[in-house]
């Protein structure tokens, strides 16, 4: 074997070795991706509809690829049993009460199995376990919802159409507003009034502001009330007295009230006088009798004055009166 032939053989050997190495690396990389060379467990789940899920599709847990679909076959009347190969290193994180659902890798991506949920209280999943499947929200379901939304949108736009027709026809408040110039003017006037009211409110606010500033002026009444303890004590004393006066007034009012109540009742003289008509008639007749009696008494006394027994006494009294008048003059 000459040198050239040796060289050629070596080159061919290197060529083949490199080719085989690249191939083996490819196989190992693919095996790593497919989890073919790692220890795995098999778990399954039964679905009513797998929506095109295929053998070899990925299995995700908490967003991490943990395995692949190993097998898919029919079971029961029309259900589908999906067997998953799960990387044994992730087994400890998956619990028996975890849910399994079919999802998609992106909006138009491959179908995947997603394992989620599961509480730490539940035991860890084991080889051969069957996990509970969750109902898939299919594209059909989404389309149904969208269809419903479309119908709602159509109803809304129809209502708006009818509304706009009515507005254009000048019906309703908004239509009248748009069509009736008088109402427009009124609205303008209202707006002006509102503007004026707003201006007034602003002025008032400004005045209130000034007032509050004044209240804060050092030495002012309000400031004294708020800051000077002597003034405050005086005011408190005044208020206390005012309260006493008010209490007395209340008492007085109560007494007056009681008195007036008594006046309204007929169990006392005044009440009888004020409220009892019979009593009043009796008093009236009594007064009449008294008047008549006094007239008669007057006549009787007049007669007494002219009596000879007392005539001298009354003459002396008249004379003393005349004397006192003269002295005074």
């Amino acid at each position: 074997m000459d040198t050239a032939e040796n060289k050629r053989s070596i080159i061919v050997g290197v060529f083949v070795l490199l080719g085989v190495a690249v191939f083996v690396i490819g196989v190992l990389t693919l095996g790593g991706q497919q989890k073919s060379f790692v220890k795995s467990i098999h778990i399954s789940s039964v679905f009513n509809d797998v929506s095109g899920l295929k053998k070899g599709n990925n299995v995700w847990f908490s967003g991490v690829k943990v395995g692949t679909i190993k097998n898919i076959h029919f079971t029961g009347p029309s259900q589908v049993d999906v067997i998953m190969s799960i990387d044994a290193s992730t087994q400890q994180y998956i619990h028996r009460n975890a849910g399994v659902r079919i999802s998609s890798d992106g909006f138009i991506g491959n179908k995947i199995i997603v394992i989620d949920g599961g509480s730490p209280q539940a035991p860890i999943v084991r080889d051969g376990d069957v996990l509970q499947s969750e109902k898939l929200l299919s594209t059909d379901d989404i389309m149904k919802t969208l269809q419903q939304n479309n119908q709602n949108l159509l109803a809304i736009t129809t209502d708006f159409k009818s509304l706009s027709h009515q507005i254009l026809a000048g019906k309703g408040t908004v239509g009248a507003l748009l069509a009736d110039s008088t109402m427009g003017n009124q609205l303008k006037q209202t707006m002006r009034n509102l503007q004026a009211a707003t201006q007034n409110a602003a002025n008032m606010s400004s005045q209130l502001n000034n007032f509050s500033n004044k209240m804060n002026t050092k030495g002012g009444f309000a400031d004294n009330v708020l800051t000077d303890t002597i003034t405050f004590n005086r005011i408190r004393a005044s208020v206390s007295r005012l309260k006493e006066a008010a209490d007395n007034a209340t008492l007085l009012t109560d007494n007056l009230n009681k008195a007036s109540n008594k006046l309204n009742s007929t169990d006392n003289i005044m009440g009888v006088l004020l409220n009892d008509p019979k009593g009043a008639a009796k008093v009236q007749s009594t007064l009449d009798y008294l008047q008549q009696s006094s007239v008669k008494l007057n006549d009787d006394l007049e007669a007494v004055q002219h009596n000879f027994l007392l005539k001298g006494f009354f003459k002396k009294k008249e004379k003393a009166k005349q004397d006192s008048i003269k002295k005074a003059m």
């Binding site: 690249v22 490819g26 693919l30």
Partner: protein, 269 residues
């Protein structure tokens, strides 16, 4: 026979031509079958021409390496570049690694390698054996006791069957590298992420299908080149026809095999 038929029952010339062509076609099929069977018969029997196999591996494999590397790299870059606008329309440029790897690993790597090899190696084998046939070197080898079929055909077919899968593997790697460079330049994707996404959609079925495809393509290119060259006639003109026939037939068969193998691989998915 023909003259007898002409005199006893005259047949229209068109039908006669058809019959002749059909007969020639089936005869050619038989010859190909016999050639392939002879290959399988002799390849496992001693003596084994290891040195010649290595020499042919060098000629077909190592000498094609530069061309294959360049072609694979260009295919990777161009395919990635041309695929980007379509994916950009969907906002799915992150799928470029997956798309490129599916295309390269499943179809382009074995196919491009086979087509390049059919052009370079197939024509070379056809021309070489054809010239040996027309210059009666093969006859001389037979006379001298050397088994020309084993030495010339078996070694070349073995060499192409070994080297073309290796070249296809190189092509896949280099094309993926080209795709990565383009994706990295435009999307800033790292090598690890690119390779992770590239192998994500692939399965072992794809991998083995591509390998088997490359082996079948290698065998086809070798056997077609050898058949055309080994059975060439009509002097120097026959050499050209053998080289041309080797390329055209090999390419045609490569495409047919591609379809068949893809179909068969689909049954295993």
């Amino acid at each position: 026979m023909d003259s007898v038929n002409n005199t006893t029952s005259p047949v229209p010339s068109r039908v006669k031509k058809m019959r002749t062509k059909l007969a020639a076609f089936f005869l050619m099929l038989y010859r190909v079958y016999a050639f392939v069977m002879r290959f399988f018969k002799e390849v496992f029997l001693p003596p084994y021409e290891f040195k010649e196999v290595i020499r042919q591996c060098y000629e077909t494999g190592v000498r094609s390496f530069t061309l294959i590397t360049l072609t694979g790299f260009i295919v990777g870059v161009i395919f990635t570049k041309q695929s980007r606008p379509s994916l950009t329309d969907f906002g799915a440029t992150s799928w470029l690694p997956s798309l490129v790897s599916i295309a390269i690993m499943k179809a382009l790597a074995p196919l491009v390698t086979a087509l390049i090899a059919a052009g370079k190696v197939g024509s070379s084998i056809g021309a070489e054996l054809g010239s040996m046939r027309v210059t009666e070197q093969i006859d001389a080898m037979e006379v001298s006791g050397t088994k020309p079929f084993k030495f010339l055909v078996c070694t070349r077919v073995i060499a192409t069957t070994i080297t073309i899968p290796l070249l296809a593997t190189y092509t896949a790697f280099i094309a993926l590298l080209g795709g990565y460079l383009n994706v990295s330049q435009n999307e800033g994707t790292t090598y690890a992420v690119f390779m992770d996404q590239a192998f994500e959609p692939l399965t072992f079925v794809d991998f083995w299908a591509s390998l088997i495809k490359a082996i079948v393509f290698g065998f086809t290119i070798g056997i077609v080149g050898c058949y055309q060259g080994y059975n060439s006639t009509k002097g120097t003109e026959g050499v050209g026809k053998a080289a041309n026939g080797a390329v055209v037939t090999a390419m045609f068969l490569v495409f047919i095999e591609e379809v068949l193998i893809v179909q068969i691989a689909g049954w295993f998915r």
